[in-house]
C-alpha cells in the first residue's frame, strides 16, 4: 500500500501522509480494498451512512438535513433510512441540542447538526450545563454519550462575522465533553465514526473550507480512528508546529518554505482537542526544543494558550525559545479584512524564523 499525496484543487494542499509512529489504532484507515478519491463532505456523508446502517437507533437531525444539508453532508440519508430517522428540526439550536441530549439519555445515538458553528451559542447552555454534566450528576445512572454534535466551522473566504467563527476554545473549557476536529476526508470519516460510537458526548467541528477543496483517497469500508491521539504528519528536528483542521494546510505550506531556508519543521495534527494528546506533543518538543501553535480563532484565550501553558509546565528547561502562537487577531471575525485577520503562511513563516533564531 502506497502513501498518497492529498491534492487540493485551489489551496495546493500538500499534506504528505507518513507512517504514524504513535498510533495504536486497530484499524487506521490504511485499508486494503476499495478506496475512492472523494472530498470532505462526501467522506462525512459516507460516515453517516455507515453509522445509521450499523445502529438502528441512530438518528440524524438538524436544520435542512433532509434534502442533504447546505453543505450536502447528509445527502441520501433521508431517502435511505426514512424520515423517522433523518429529519429536519425547526430553527432552534437550543432545542435541537437539548432534544439530542434527551435522545441520547434514553440510549439512542443522536447525531445533531448545527448548521454553522457560529449558531451553536444558543445551544451552549445545553452543551455545557447538561450534556457535559449528565453522567456526573446522575451518578452514572444516565449519560448522553450517544450525542454527537456536528458543526461546520472556520473561515471560508467570504463568510463574515457569522459564517466563519472557530468556537473550539469555548468547548475545550468544559470537562465532560470531547472536541474533535479532522483535517482531511480520510481523517474525517474515521474520526466521525469514532465520535459517534464514543460513549461520551462529542462536539465535532468540520472545516468548511475543506468541504469541496480537500480530496483524498478514502476507504469505503467502516473504519475508526482513535480519539485523543495526535498525529505527527511531518517529521522534523528544528521546531514543532501544532495545529488542527484547515489551518494545517497553511502550516504545511509554511513548513515547505521554511525547508528551503534549511529549517526542518515537525508538524503535529492534534485531532482531538479535548482531551488532547499531551504526550505526543511533549515528545516532539523534547526533540526540537521549540514550538509554534497556530489556529484561526483569536489569540487571546484560544486553545493555543492551553497548549502553551502545558508545554511550558512539562518542558520548561528543554525550551530554547518562547512558545509562539500565530492566530487570528483579537477582533470579531471581519468581512473585508479577512486576509489580514487570518494567520497566513507568511505570518507563520516569520514566526518560525523568529523562534528558530531566538
Amino acid at each position: 500500500m502506497g502513501f498518497r499525496n492529498i491534492i487540493g484543487r485551489r489551496l495546493g494542499l500538500g499534506l504528505v501522509r507518513r507512517r504514524k509512529p504513535f498510533s495504536t489504532a486497530t484499524c487506521d484507515g490504511d485499508g486494503n480494498g476499495n478506496a475512492k478519491s472523494i472530498n470532505l463532505y462526501s467522506a462525512i456523508n459516507q460516515a453517516l451512512h455507515i453509522a445509521l446502517e450499523t445502529d438502528n437507533r441512530a438518528f440524524v437531525f438538524g436544520e435542512d438535513v433532509s434534502f442533504g444539508g447546505v453543505f450536502r453532508c447528509t445527502t441520501g440519508l433521508a431517502d435511505r433510512f426514512g424520515k423517522a430517522r433523518v429529519f429536519n428540526t425547526p430553527l432552534c439550536e437550543q432545542g435541537i441540542v437539548g432534544f439530542g441530549i434527551g435522545l441520547a439519555a434514553m440510549g439512542n445515538r443522536a447525531i445533531a447538526e448545527i448548521q454553522f458553528a457560529d449558531y451553536i451559542y444558543p445551544a451552549f447552555d445545553q452543551i455545557v450545563n447538561e450534556a457535559a454534566k449528565f453522567r456526573y450528576r446522575s451518578g452514572n445512572q444516565f449519560n448522553c454519550g450517544g450525542l454527537t454534535i456536528r458543526a461546520p466551522y472556520g473561515a471560508v473566504g467570504h463568510g463574515g462575522h457569522y459564517h466563519s467563527q472557530s468556537p473550539e476554545a469555548f468547548f475545550c473549557h468544559v470537562p465532560g465533553i470531547k472536541v474533535v476536529i479532522p483535517r482531511s476526508p480520510r481523517q474525517a470519516k474515521g474520526l466521525l465514526l469514532s465520535c459517534i460510537r464514543d460513549p461520551n458526548p462529542v462536539v465535532f467541528f468540520e472545516p468548511k473550507w475543506l468541504y469541496r477543496l480537500a480530496v483524498e483517497e478514502v476507504p469505503e469500508h467502516d473504519y475508526m480512528l482513535p480519539l485523543s491521539e495526535a498525529e505527527v504528519i511531518r517529521q522534523g528536528s528544528d521546531i514543532t508546529l501544532v495545529g488542527w483542521g484547515a489551518q494545517l494546510s497553511v502550516m504545511e505550506q509554511a513548513c515547505n518554505e521554511a525547508e528551503k531556508d534549511g529549517i526542518s519543521c515537525e508538524l503535529i495534527d492534534l485531532k482531538t482537542l479535548l482531551p488532547w494528546d499531551k504526550e505526543t506533543v511533549e515528545a516532539s518538543v523534547r526533540k526540537t526544543g521549540r514550538v509554534l501553535i497556530s489556529h484561526e480563532a483569536p489569540v487571546t484565550g484560544g486553545f493555543g494558550a492551553e497548549i502553551s501553558a502545558s508545554i511550558v509546565e512539562r518542558c520548561f528547561l528543554r525550551l530554547e525559545a518562547p512558545v509562539a502562537r500565530v492566530c487570528g487577531l483579537d477582533t470579531p471575525f471581519p468581512l473585508v479584512f479577512e486576509p489580514f485577520y487570518m494567520p497566513t503562511k507568511n505570518k507563520i513563516l516569520d514566526a518560525i524564523k523568529a523562534t528558530v533564531n531566538y
Binding site: D64, P90, D118, H158, L329, L335, F337, T344
Partner: protein, 432 residues
C-alpha cells in the same frame, strides 16, 4: 373586500388590554377573528405536493391578484385607499427595492460583492407597506434580508451599495456587509445574520421609547419599533420570550412576520405544529393579524392600525404577512426545492404589478408617470453602483478599530502608531 370600511371598523374597537385580566382567550378584542373582513386576505395556500407525512395543511382557495384588484375597483371612487402622492411614493419605494436587489445579483455574479447575500424580491410590499408609515425616529430591526428595509427606511442607495461592496463610504464603513445594515441617522438597528437575535434588541428599543415618554416625561416621544423576521424564526425561543415581554410591559412594538413559507429548504408547514403564526399573538396577550403580504395596500392598512396602537400606548401587535421570495434563499441557493407551480402562483401576485394596475385603473397615475419613476430609479441604482465602485476600500487600520470603545486601548500601540502599521505586525499576534 371593502377595506376602507373595515379600517373604520377596527379603529372603533377599544383595544385596551388589561394585563391583569385572566386568560387571553376570553378577550374577544384581542384576536380579530380570521373571518373578519379587515384582515385582508383570508386566503391560504393549498399545497399541490403530495407528501406522505401528516402535514398540517392550510386549505382554501387560491385567488389571483386580478381578482383582488377587481374587488377594490368595485368600491366607489371617493373611498380610495391612497392619494396620488402616496401611490407614487409607494410605487417608487417598491421599484427601488426591486431594481436594487436585481442590481445586487448582477454585481454579485460579476464579483463586485461577495459573501452571503439574501435578496428580497417579491416581498417589497411588506417593507414599503410598513416602513413608509414610520417617522425618522421610529426604529426598525431587520434580519439578514435587510437591504430593502434599509432603503425603505431612508438609507441612501449609495450607502447601502457601498456597504455591500465593502467600501468605507458604506453605512457601516464596510465592516458589516450585506447582513448588517445599520444607520443611526435613520434608526435602523441592523441587519442580523442570526435569526431571532434582533427581536430582543427591538424589544429593548421599544422599552426605551416608552420609558422616555412615561418616566422622563418627554411627552411627544411616541416612537415605535418594528421588528421584521421570518417564519422560521417563529419556532425559536427568542421570539416567544419577546412576545411575552412586550405584552407584559405593553411596549410600543410591532412584530412583523414575513412568512414566505420557506426557511432555506424547510417548508414552514412541515416545521411548525400550528402554521398559523398570527394565532401566537393572542396566546401572549396581544392581537394577532394575518394579512396578504403581496398587496401593499392591505399591508399598509393593517400597518396603520398596528403602528397606531403602538403610538397610542396600547401595546404590541403581531402581524403575519403572507408573502413569497421570488429568488432563492441567498445568491448561493440553487432554489431547486420549491414547487414551480407555487412559484408561478406567487409570481402572478407580484406586488409591484398589482399596485401598478391599481394606480392605473383608478386613474391615480398614468403609464407615463410610472415609467418616469422606473427610469429615475434605474438612474439612482446605477449611480449607487458607480459611487460604490469609486469609493475607497477601508485601510487596514480599520480592522482594529471599534472592538472596544477606546481605540487607544487596542488599536494604537505605545509608540502612538496603529498597531497594524507596525512592521512586526505580520508575526500575527495582536495584543489586547
Amino acid at each position: 373586500m371593502n377595506s376602507a370600511s373595515c379600517a373604520a371598523k377596527i379603529s372603533t374597537q377599544p383595544f385596551s388590554l388589561n394585563p391583569t385580566s385572566p386568560a387571553s382567550h376570553d378577550r374577544p378584542l384581542v384576536s380579530p377573528k380570521p373571518t373578519s373582513l379587515f384582515l385582508g386576505s383570508t386566503r391560504k395556500l393549498r399545497l399541490s405536493s403530495s407528501s406522505k407525512l401528516n402535514l398540517h395543511r392550510r386549505s382554501g382557495t387560491v385567488v389571483a391578484v386580478s381578482d383582488v384588484v377587481k374587488q377594490k375597483k368595485s368600491k366607489s371612487t371617493h373611498s380610495l385607499l391612497i392619494t396620488k402622492e402616496e401611490g407614487l411614493e409607494l410605487y417608487e419605494d417598491m421599484i427601488l427595492g426591486r431594481a436594487f436587489e436585481d442590481m445586487c445579483a448582477q454585481m454579485y455574479y460579476r464579483g463586485k460583492m461577495f459573501g452571503f447575500v439574501h435578496l428580497y424580491n417579491g416581498q417589497e410590499a411588506v417593507s414599503t407597506g410598513f416602513i413608509k408609515l414610520l417617522k425618522q425616529q421610529d426604529s426598525v430591526v431587520s434580519t439578514y434580508r435587510d437591504h430593502v428595509h434599509a432603503l425603505s427606511k431612508g438609507v441612501p442607495a449609495r450607502a447601502v451599495m457601498s456597504e455591500l461592496f465593502g467600501k468605507t463610504t458604506g453605512c457601516c464603513r464596510g465592516q458589516g456587509g450585506s447582513m448588517h445594515m445599520f444607520s443611526r441617522e435613520h434608526n435602523l438597528l441592523g441587519g442580523f445574520a442570526f435569526i431571532g437575535e434582533g427581536i430582543p434588541v427591538a424589544t429593548g428599543a421599544a422599552f426605551t421609547s416608552k420609558y422616555k415618554r412615561e418616566v422622563l416625561k418627554e411627552a411627544d416621544c411616541d416612537h415605535v419599533t418594528l421588528a421584521f423576521f421570518g417564519d422560521g424564526t417563529c419556532n425559536n425561543g427568542q421570539f416567544f420570550e419577546c412576545l411575552n415581554m412586550a405584552a407584559l410591559w405593553k411596549l410600543p412594538i410591532v412584530f412583523v412576520v414575513e412568512n414566505n413559507l420557506w426557511a432555506i429548504g424547510m417548508s414552514h408547514l412541515r416545521a411548525t405544529s400550528d402554521p398559523q403564526i398570527y394565532k401566537k399573538g393572542p396566546a401572549f396577550g396581544m392581537p394577532g393579524i394575518h394579512v396578504d403580504g403581496m398587496d401593499v395596500l392591505k399591508v399598509r392598512e393593517v400597518a396603520k392600525e398596528a403602528i397606531g396602537r403602538a403610538r397610542r400606548g396600547e401595546g404590541p401587535t403581531l402581524v403575519e404577512c403572507e408573502t413569497y421570495r421570488f429568488r432563492g434563499h441567498s445568491l448561493a441557493d440553487p432554489d431547486e426545492l420549491r414547487d414551480p407551480a407555487e412559484k408561478a402562483h406567487y409570481a402572478a401576485r407580484d406586488p409591484i404589478t398589482a399596485l401598478k394596475k391599481y394606480l392605473i385603473e383608478n386613474s391615480l397615475a398614468s403609464e407615463a408617470d410610472l415609467k418616469a419613476i422606473d427610469k429615475k430609479i434605474d438612474e439612482v441604482v446605477e449611480d449607487a453602483v458607480e459611487f460604490a465602485d469609486e469609493s475607497p476600500v477601508p485601510s487596514q487600520s480599520q480592522l482594529l478599530e471599534n472592538v472596544f470603545a477606546d481605540p487607544k486601548g487596542f488599536g494604537i500601540g505605545p509608540d502612538g502608531r496603529y498597531r497594524c502599521e507596525d512592521p512586526k505586525f505580520t508575526e500575527g499576534t495582536a495584543h489586547v
